[in-house]
Each structure stands twice: as C-alpha cells, then as structure tokens.
C-alpha cells in the first residue's frame, strides 16, 4: 500500500515537471509575453483561492461543517441541559467580523485597492476581543470543571472503599457472632 502511494507521488511529481516544461517550451515557441504569463498565474491563483472558498461554503451547506456551535462555549466549560452555553462575546465577535470584513471587502473592490482601517475600528474589534478574553478569565474554566469531575471520582472511589470495608467488617462481625453463639452452645453443653 505504501509502495503504491509512493509510486503515485513520484508519477505526480514527474508529470507536474513535464507539464511545466511543456508550458515553458510552448511559451518560448510562441513568444508569450510576461503580461500573459502573469495573467495565467493570476487566473491559476484565483482559481485555487476560489476553490478553497467554494469548498468551505459547500461543506457548510452540506452540513460537514456544523455551525451549531459557532457562538457556543466549549462543551467542557459550560453545559446547559446537554447543550453548550452560547457565548455573548462570540456572538459580538461574529457580528463585528461580518460588518467590518464585509464593508472592507466592498470598499476595497470599489476603490481598487485596500482601504485604510481607522484606529477606532481596530479599537472596536480590540474591545470585543479584550472583553472576550476577560470574560474567559473570570468565567468557569475547563480546568475547574475537570477538577470537579476528579473530585467526584475521588469521592466515588472513597465511597466504594468504605462500602467494601463495611462489608468486610459486617462479615467479620457475623463470624464473631457465630463463634460466640457456638462458644455459648458449647458452654451450655459442658454445664
């Protein structure tokens, strides 16, 4: 199996080099200009990025990327009736990301260049991010939750040990009782 994968990889690399060499020969033969090569490169890179974007979108529509927990806390930090608790900071982050990213894209397309982002806008996103971090710091931590689970485990184990010990003690007491009864019976017989 490993050999087949390795062979496929070698074929792929060799094939790729052959295609690149053929393109080079074709470019020299037909005296292709630098602008045409740049255009070809631009189209190729755009196609790759578009493919990435389309794959993400398709996976979201398909359900492979689940958006259920997009504004939720991690499951081990907060859990309400089997569902993770929604986070207000994450919700705000989502809204501001939509607004700033959407407007930035639109204006950049309209202007034909990246537009400047004012400091106050960065401050707005920073405020949101700062609040997110502080709320994580003061909120319940996964470590605390784990500690609680560990404590519960330790209590359960201690209870099991105590129960076993109590069971053993009960058996010992029963044996002692039987022995005492037997002794008493033997004493009566002797009398």
């Amino acid at each position: 199996m490993g050999n087949v994968d390795q062979r496929t990889g070698v074929f792929f690399v060799v094939g790729f080099l052959v295609v690149v060499c053929m393109l080079g020969v074709w470019a020299i033969q037909w005296d292709v200009k630098a602008q045409d090569v740049a255009l070809l490169g631009f189209i190729s890179f755009s196609a790759v990025i578009i493919a990435f974007a389309a794959a993400v979108l398709w996976n979201i529509i398909d359900g492979s990327i689940d958006l259920f927990g997009i504004i939720s806390e991690p499951d081990d930090v907060a859990n309400i009736d089997g569902k993770p608790k929604a986070s207000l900071s994450r919700f705000q982050f989502l809204v501001f990301t939509f607004v700033v990213a959407g407007l930035f894209l639109m204006l950049s397309i309209e202007a034909g260049a990246f537009v400047n982002i004012p400091n106050n806008v960065l401050g707005l996103i920073g405020l949101s991010g700062g609040s997110f971090i502080v709320s994580k710091a003061v909120g319940p931590k996964a470590k605390d939750a784990l500690t609680e689970v560990e404590k519960a485990d330790a209590t359960l184990k201690a209870a099991e040990i105590a129960a076993k010990k109590a069971g053993a003690d009960a058996k010992t007491a029963e044996a002692k009782l039987k022995k005492a009864k037997a002794d008493a019976a033997a004493a009566k017989v002797q009398e």
């Binding site: 929604a86 809204v95 106050n120």
Partner: protein, 119 residues
C-alpha cells in the same frame, strides 16, 4: 480575456461568496440551528451550573442591543460617507468616540455582572 475581466469575475465571486456565507449563518441562526442557549441569561447559582435562570440578565441584553446598534450605525455611516464623492478615494469611516464609549460601558456592565454573579 484581460486581467481586468478576470479581476471582475473574482470580485463578483467573492461578493457572492460572502453574501451566501453571511446569509447562511443568519438563516441558521433564525431557524434555531445555531445554539443560542444561555445567550441572555446565566445559571441561577454556582451550585447548579446546568440550570439556567429564567430571568434575562439586563447587562447581557444591553450588550446585545448596543452591539446591534453599533453594527447598523456603522454600516449606515459607511454608506453615507464613503465612495459618494468618487470611487477612487474610498475609506472606512472612523467610529465616533461616543459609540466606542457606549460599547465600552456595555462591556464593563457585562463583565461586572459576570464577576458579581460568579462570586
């Protein structure tokens, strides 16, 4: 096909992509397919972290409202102030200090409430 044509196609694709992505998230949010349990309320007490309070926390509601106001206001501000004079000189508008203070105050209230309820 020139470089300009290609860039127009790419631009259109990314606008469509962003609109579909944002629209899809919002539709899922409205249909309840995105988890919003406990967005506006916190657990009743620290002894029962899995049981939500039936009451809405005012500081959370304030933060949600101020977030939506800030987002809508910024979109309107951008539409009014940029690119109207000419497409070659566009910029993202600065956010007024008052709006930043409103959001800062809401965040402070939210964090104070969170700390208070936890203690």
């Amino acid at each position: 096909m020139s470089g300009e044509d290609v860039s127009k196609i790419v631009e259109l694709f990314f606008i469509a992509w962003m609109v579909v992505l944002f629209g899809f998230v919002i539709i899922k949010l409205l249909r309840g397919e995105v988890n919003t349990v406990g967005l506006l309320s916190t657990p009743q007490n620290s002894n029962e972290p899995q049981k939500l309070s039936e009451q809405i926390d005012p500081e959370r509601l304030l933060l949600v409202i101020s977030t939506i106001i800030a987002a809508v206001y910024y979109i309107m501000l951008t539409m009014q102030t940029t690119c109207a004079q000419g497409a070659t000189d566009c910029w993202l508008p600065d956010i007024p200090n008052e709006l930043l203070m409103l959001l800062g105050g809401s965040h402070s209230a939210f964090l104070t409430g969170k700390i208070y309820r936890r203690s």
